[in-house]
């Protein structure tokens, strides 16, 4: 009996102390982390364009880098493992410049658009999950501005500087243009100047976007008829189906997420001010004005802030999640209930050094990965990732 008691005490003791061991937890290490990808070159600068999670749980990041040989930014491809640790980086040939998001997928491969520094011809680059470039296709149009997934094909918004057109195209994974339509931006150099300044990063970075709504209509957020507008098209009509006009280059949509029917989650900018509208009714067959859409004002955001919108499920609840950059140089997340569209909470990422949002994506473990730019030592632009678990997000969003 005494032996049994001793044995029991021994087992309890071992359990108690092993329970206190607090060993490293790989699940926790993958669920929550902050990573800054540093480079020791004083004169190097890197910024992310888009990020996707790869099947192994790691991250594939498309980025830009400063070039001394071109006004455009070079192309940078980086991968990290599921813990956010750096795996590989590739400084792509300097003739391939101005990479744009989104990173697209088809047949197990990843794709992005960029253009040649000489000739300004749009290229479709194919790569695998390790970031290795496996193919390159000449698409032909100039100045790629934004891309989106359309089934197994891709949507491409580009700018035709020869004809002064915003061109919306459907492109196959082999780089062939399946369908395309251009819309005039308006005559005169004054309209074109801010567009070119955006491409060479000397002026404002316009929130170009391409996509498809729930009705199957294509849309792009770009210049049309002297104004930065949200333009709906069927890619065959000479005139847009509908337009939500901005205020020349000073107002318009900063981000668009089509929901159901005529409901959209959008962000707008107007002479520097920023508004978030989780539920906005937009008639895609008429002409309207973005300034007529009332929204929640966010004076804490930087002037003409970059805004990203993703739907995310946390626990059993659906949210519309906005990401942006604050004047205090943090990345801010704002959640709205997808059913009631009521504000559910906010979360701020980054401190001490400046942080700016680039992209965010829901991860396979139910969490969120946010990719951005931070300025290490207050001066060197470097790519960073914030990985936040579902439970941490739920702590912030009610």
């Amino acid at each position: 009996m005494r032996l049994n008691l001793n044995r029991t005490l021994f087992i309890v003791g071992v359990f108690a102390f092993s329970h206190c061991a607090n060993n490293s937890d790989p699940v926790a290490d993958k669920s929550n982390f902050t990573k800054i990808f540093d480079n020791s070159q004083f004169n190097a600068s890197y910024y992310p364009v888009d990020m996707v999670q790869t099947p192994d749980g790691g991250y594939l990041i498309l980025g830009g880098r400063s070039l001394t040989t071109s006004s455009f930014s070079g192309t940078y491809i980086m991968t990290a493992d599921a813990f956010g640790n750096f795996v590989s980086a590739q400084e792509v040939d300097e003739n391939l410049v101005d990479p744009i998001g989104n990173i697209l997928t088809a047949k197990g491969k990843y794709y992005f658009f960029c253009m040649t520094a000489i000739g300004l011809q749009t290229q479709l680059i194919e790569m695998d999950a390790t970031g290795t470039i496996t193919n390159q296709f000449n698409v032909g149009s100039s100045y790629p501005a934004a891309a989106a997934q359309d089934g197994n094909n891709f949507l491409l918004l580009s700018y035709d500087n020869g004809n002064k057109l915003s061109v919306m195209s459907k492109v196959g994974p082999d780089g062939t243009i399946i369908q395309s339509k251009g819309y005039k931006i308006g005559a005169g150099d004054d309209v074109e100047a801010p567009i070119i300044a955006s491409f060479v990063h000397t002026g404002r970075q316009f929130p170009f976007q391409a996509g498809k709504n729930s009705s199957g209509q294509y849309f792009f957020n770009g210049f049309y008829n002297y104004t930065f507008s949200l333009v709906f098209t069927d890619l065959s009509s000479n005139n847009p189906l509908g337009v939500v006009q901005g205020q020349q280059s000073s107002g318009g949509m900063s981000a668009v997420l089509p929901l159901e029917g005529s409901t959209y989650s959008i962000g707008t900018f107007n002479f520097g001010d920023n508004y978030l509208l989780p539920s906005s009714q937009i008639n895609s067959n008429t002409v309207s004005s973005a300034s007529d859409l009332n929204g929640n004002s966010f004076p804490e955001l930087v002037t003409n802030a970059k805004v990203k919108i993703v739907p995310i499920i946390l626990g059993a609840k659906n949210y519309i999640l906005y990401g942006s950059t604050t004047k205090s140089k943090q990345i801010s997340l704002y959640a709205y209930d997808k059913t009631s569209f009521k504000f559910s909470g906010s979360k701020y990422l980054g401190f001490s050094n400046p942080f700016e949002i680039s992209s965010m994506t829901a991860t396979t473990d139910g969490g969120l990965a946010v990719c951005g730019t931070t300025y290490v030592a207050g001066r060197f632009p470097r790519i960073c990732i914030f990985k936040i678990s579902s439970s941490k997000l739920q702590d912030s969003f009610h």
Binding site: A21, T34, K35, D38, N39, Q41, F42, S352, V376, A377
Partner: protein
């Protein structure tokens, strides 16, 4: 340090008060004296200093190196260099040369480390920036040990060895970060420094357990014992809260993530022990002959 002095002062006052008792105590017989020596409860107070060592189990960093060795990101710990302090209440049961003791302790431990980063212009190597992040982590624990003591040779002045096991409850944690550097890209040497950033870091740590051992000496001054001892406390479990490693935005923003570490300490304490059997109105710290 002030805490230790205060405790020693209180101890001295208590000792003095007890020794100045007016009542005449019954003279203990020889048998009582033997009994006193052979079997006794002791209650006492100790205070002192400690030196800490962070023993990394697994290293972590917010920074991930893309063009240099990731080992450069490792923190350089200053082992047994930062002085902390502790205050202890000791309760000991002694039977002949062997004692069993618990010594609840409130301790303030300090571990410090630094990271250094350097950025150099590849086109003009004379242009560079070096930044050093110096971090001092204060950790407050209430530690409950269970210790066995064995008295070695001696009469009034005795040496002893002790060993035991302990569990430490985290009560507070505070980190101070100082950033300094040299900028050689601004036209001449520009020395950089910043105001220290002080951050509450209790969420980044957790309780832990460990094993301890040490040596000491006691001086029997009347019925009270003055003790001086040193112990080595060897942490056996990770003190880092692995779920909150990156949860502090202020620290993550400057590239700091907590390593998994074990905490080891060298503890030096001095104090006084009172015999519990004589802690009544007749107690004299010195026997009347």
């Amino acid at each position: 340090m002030k805490k230790i002095l205060l405790i020693l002062l209180l101890t001295a006052i208590a000792s003095s008060t007890f020794s100045q008792g007016k009542r005449k105590s019954p003279k203990p017989s020889g048998g009582q004296k033997n009994s006193f020596l052979e079997k006794q409860f002791w209650l006492g107070f100790k205070g002192g200093i400690n030196l800490s060592q962070a023993d990394p189990i697994k290293r972590y960093s917010v920074m991930s190196a893309t063009n240099y060795q990731s080992g450069n990101l490792n923190k350089t710990y200053n082992n047994f260099q930062d002085v902390g302090s502790q205050a202890t209440v000791e309760i000991t049961f002694q039977f002949r040369n062997l004692s069993i003791s618990t010594q609840p302790t409130y301790s303030h431990n300090v571990i410090s480390y630094y990271n250094q980063f350097e950025w150099t212009n590849t086109e003009d190597p004379s242009q560079s920036l070096t930044q050093k992040y110096s971090q001092s982590q204060g950790l407050d624990y209430v530690t409950i040990p269970l210790i066995a003591k064995y008295d070695l040779v001696g009469n009034n002045l005795k040496g002893y060895v002790h060993a035991g096991i302990y569990y430490s409850f985290l009560t507070n944690a505070l980190k101070t970060v100082s950033v300094s550097g040299v900028d050689l890209a601004s036209g001449s040497t520009n020395t950089l420094s910043s105001q220290p950033l002080i951050v509450g870091t209790k969420d980044l740590f957790t309780n832990y357990w460990g094993l301890m051992g040490g040596i000491g000496g006691s001086y029997q001054m009347g019925n009270v014992k003055l003790v001086l001892e040193t112990s080595y406390m060897h942490g056996m479990s990770n003190i880092t809260n692995v779920k909150n490693r990156f949860s502090n935005d202020q620290l993550a923003g400057i590239g700091d993530a907590q390593d998994d570490i074990k905490l080891n300490n060298i503890v030096i304490s001095a104090g006084v022990l009172f015999p519990m059997r004589f802690l009544n109105s007749n107690f004299k710290s010195f026997d009347q002959n």
